[in-house]
């Protein structure tokens, strides 16, 4: 049975840069943007001098920016040196794990005010080098020599899932359509466009160039057209994959007893769980992610909550199949039912289980080290009624974030609670 945190931890402010492609900016510039937005978001203000520790998620600035040892540099750039500053690397779960380390540091009683960050600057490298850098998250001795890429791993899980449950592969495309619909309403999203908007802009571009204007009956027809949506790794196509992104996000955590000094509307971290696993081939089942189920079970137990208590969730949809497996791993739907939920709209904003109202990694973008922290920004916005056109209705009391590294070698889950 998971223990409760030794003392309560509150989120009192959040910020993020826009996610996208920013050739003129480095990761530290993007983090400055996130940090400045965070400062604005703290209702009663705060002095950066109050920060006692900084945990920063980043996968591989070594490859992307030829820069290791990034945490103290970023700390200096936002003026918080000599605060202890630590870079956390767990591939695409780096941000979520940094959040967990911040939560545990406060719960331990050692510190009261922690800055959690996540950042990645991926787009300076050519596409093939980005693929190679991301592949570092897999087993270089026994997975990479087989010829796997990351789209390839998730594609293989998709074939196992579709075969096991005799699922309709159109469910994958439905995840993409839904997340682009949400991302189209998020001004911070890299693809701030619904699939319909993408179709119209492709037609406009063709007209401007004097080329034949492509026509599609609907979004599904567009997504099944190999010209507009080429196959990357069967059965996953371009629009099944999250993009290569630049971006940063930041969260300010404080001990529960200090929260009122910062804001009258904190949200509390009531559950936190993390688990690991070996290479994909070693797992008992290839159509689920066992570490995600284990991490969420721990977080639910800590929070004293069940999946039914969760009002909405941000899940790690690095590929469309990942969202379908996630909503089963997290207990929102029974095994083998996730694809049906994607098909019939249950995960849409007006569905029974809204998933990835931000647009998810798919549409919002996936600057890998920032993604797990960016998820908390959406939780904050939804819980404070700040989500604009994508705002969920009703009193949102509990939300969950789910962040995955690699194919599920690292999974980290957090549960948040609003009490007023």
């Amino acid at each position: 049975m998971a223990k409760k945190l030794s003392r309560g931890v509150a989120v009192v402010g959040v910020g993020m840069s826009k996610f996208g492609v920013f050739p003129e900016k480095t990761s530290r510039d993007l983090f400055v943007e996130a940090f400045q937005e965070l400062r604005q978001s703290v209702q009663k203000g705060f002095d950066p001098k109050d920060i006692e520790a900084f945990y920063m998620g980043n996968f591989t600035s070594d490859c992307f920016e030829n820069q290791a040892h990034l945490a103290p540099i970023v700390a200096s750039w936002v003026g918080i040196s000599p605060v202890e500053s630590t870079r956390i690397e767990d591939a695409c779960a780096s941000g979520g794990v940094a959040l967990r380390q911040g939560v545990l540091a406060i719960a331990s009683g050692e510190v009261d005010v922690v800055l959690v960050g996540g950042l990645e600057k991926m787009t300076d490298l050519p596409g093939a080098k980005v693929t190679d850098a991301l592949a570092l998250a897999a087993d270089s001795l026994f997975e990479i020599p087989a010829g796997f890429t990351f789209p390839g791993f998730y594609a293989a899980m998709a074939t196992a899932y579709l075969d096991r449950y005799k699922a309709d592969p159109d469910a994958l495309l439905r995840v993409g359509i839904k997340n682009h619909e949400n991302g189209g309403l998020n001004e911070k999203a890299q693809f701030n466009q619904s699939i319909k908007d993408v179709m119209i802009s492709k037609q406009r571009k063709a007209a401007q160039k004097g080329l034949p204007i492509p026509e599609w009956a609907d979004e599904m027809a567009f997504l099944k057209d190999p010209k507009s949506n080429p196959m990357i790794a069967w059965p996953l196509r371009l629009f099944d994959c999250s993009p290569v992104s630049d971006g940063a996000a930041a969260v300010l955590l404080v001990s529960e007893e200090l929260a009122a000094k910062f804001t009258d509307e904190p949200i509390f971290v009531v559950g936190s769980g993390q688990a690991s696993d070996g290479a994909l081939a070693e797992r008992a089942s290839l159509s689920e992610v066992p570490a995600a189920a284990k991490a969420s079970k721990h977080a639910y137990e800590m929070a004293g909550l069940t999946p039914d208590d969760i009002d909405f969730a941000e899940v790690h949809d690095c590929f469309t199949i990942a969202e379908i497996m996630a909503i089963e791993d997290l207990g929102f739907f029974p095994r083998g039912e996730g694809w049906k939920a994607a098909m019939n709209g249950q995960t849409a904003r007006d569905g029974s289980h809204p998933i990835n109202t931000s647009g998810g990694l798919k549409s919002k973008g996936h600057p890998v080290g920032a993604s797990g922290v960016g998820q908390v920004v959406e939780v904050w916005k939804q819980m404070h009624g700040l989500a604009g056109e994508r705002q969920l209705r009703g009193n949102l009391r509990h939300a969950l974030t789910h962040n995955v590294g690699g194919t599920g070698q690292t999974c980290v889950v957090h549960i948040f609670e609003k009490r007023n």
Binding site: P145, G147, T149, I232, L280
Partner: protein
């Protein structure tokens, strides 16, 4: 004591000799492929090296149209894709490997559960030529 022949690179050294190796725990009988120095089931280090027959079935697969640099250098691209899969070995464990000898024009014809047998493929030329584990239809 750990057998030197079980170090993590031994797997690829065996592949170079057309052998697929693993390990068997002398305490609980658990089989690992690739080999392990410590049994992941009972944590004993009393493990022995085994050779396996390389027979199995296809558990999951993909056909890759956008290859990593290493596979692009071996000649693969969107017009010349390759299949990679996870094979459930008769010996018990599963393993990742390239799957050759399939018609890749329509990946929907590739069936999970199809019987496979081990083979070996060479990628690269001259001094950079290297042998890799692969599987083909049995």
């Amino acid at each position: 004591m750990t057998d030197h022949a079980l170090h993590s690179k031994a797997f690829h050294e065996a592949i170079a000799e057309d052998l697929l190796i693993g390990s068997r725990c002398l305490v609980c009988g658990n089989i690992s492929i690739p080999q392990r120095q410590i049994c992941p089931n009972c944590h004993s280090d009393k493990v022995e090296r085994i050779e396996t027959n390389g027979k199995g079935t296809l558990a999951a697969f993909t056909v890759i149209y956008v290859p990593p640099t290493s596979m692009a250098e071996a000649g693969y691209n969107a017009k010349n894709p390759y299949c990679v899969g996870i094979v459930a070995l008769e010996a018990g464990p599963r393993i990742s490997a390239q799957i050759v000898g399939l018609d890749l024009n329509d990946p929907a014809t590739i069936k999970i559960g199809m019987p496979l047998k081990q083979t070996f493929v060479v990628r690269g030329e001259g001094e950079s030529a290297k042998k890799f584990l692969a599987f083909e239809p049995a």
